[in-house]
């Protein structure tokens, strides 16, 4: 997971949020007040609720666009559980918490991109080994 999670306050503008996402080349921000997690805002939310509705980014607040009470996972859970949760809820970003505190963020892109080795190992374990497939196929 990524431990250096970027955050924003609910009262800031979408223009501010977009600038932070662009600067750090990330697809979401966690919305917090002090240390309390209030929600999550993704590039998807901005596309749907700002660009597609033709709203002004400088006049729209993070709190109007963010998703409240996002699905989260405890940091002591297995990575397979995180994958299942993301699949089940159809989400691409999963905040990781320890107790009440935010400690990291796990994304679909992390799993898919940083883990090609994991995919190779899994496909090696899976029922149809590559060699057999080549012969059959």
């Amino acid at each position: 997971m990524n431990r250096d999670v970027k955050t924003i306050k609910p009262g800031e503008s979408i223009l501010d949020a977009a600038s932070i996402m662009n600067e750090f080349r990330i697809g979401c921000l966690i919305v917090i007040i002090r240390t309390k997690l209030m929600g999550i805002i993704t590039e998807r939310d901005i596309l749907e609720k700002v660009v597609a509705e033709d709203r002004k980014a400088s006049k729209t607040k993070v709190s109007q666009v963010m998703t409240r009470d996002p699905v989260m996972i405890d940091d002591d859970k297995d990575i397979s559980e995180a994958v299942s949760i993301m699949n089940k809820f159809d989400i691409k970003k999963l905040p990781v918490v320890s107790g009440q505190s935010l400690v990291g963020l796990l994304t679909v892109a992390d799993l898919a991109m940083v883990q090609p080795e994991l995919i190779k190992r899994i496909s090696a374990i899976m029922a149809f080994p590559k060699k057999a497939r080549t012969v059959a196929g």
């Binding site: 979408i14 223009l15 977009a18 600038s19 996402m21 662009n22 697809g27 590039e43 998807r44 901005i46 596309l47 749907e48 700002v50 660009v51 597609a52 033709d54 002004k56 980014a57 400088s58 397979s80 994958v83 299942s84 993301m86 699949n87 691409k92 679909v108 892109a109 799993l111 898919a112 991109m113 940083v114 883990q115 090609p116 994991l118 995919i119 190779k120 899994i122 496909s123 374990i125 899976m126 029922a127 149809f128 590559k130």
Partner: protein
């Protein structure tokens, strides 16, 4: 597993002279993160990221900007006959989340990082069920 077994065949497209507002609405309606820009052949790709970067951050009006002004032109793609592992390597190397599948000059599908994770999830379940 081959790319053609995993890819989505129903690729949503846009013309390059459509407005960004039209493109954003099409992406929202179809619940997808990108559109392929076609004009007979693959011309480019436009993603949520392009809209964030080149519209929202720059305070431009999406109804006044054309897709061709913000799309990515040099699109990385994969052939349908390649292995999914190879597609994953390409996505990882280029740090992209969406990979058009091209056969000849035609876009025949798209594969995304979400699709990769869905096989991961399925594979993990199978491994656990075998234990």
């Amino acid at each position: 597993m081959f790319v053609k077994e995993l890819m989505h065949r129903d690729v949503k497209t846009t013309a390059s002279d459509a407005t960004v507002l039209e493109a954003a609405r099409k992406m929202t309606q179809n619940n997808i993160g990108c559109l392929i820009v076609v004009n007979d052949t693959l011309e480019g790709i436009v993603t949520e990221r392009d809209m964030l970067n080149k519209i929202v951050s720059s305070s431009r009006d999406p109804s006044q900007v054309r897709v061709r002004d913000i799309m990515t032109r040099d699109v990385v793609s994969v052939s349908p006959d390649k292995d999914v592992e190879e597609a994953t390597d390409i996505m990882s190397k280029h740090r992209i989340k969406r990979l058009p599948v091209v056969f000849g000059n035609e876009v025949v599908g798209i594969i995304t990082s979400t699709d990769i994770v869905s096989i991961l999830s399925k594979a993990i379940r199978e491994i656990y069920s075998q234990q």
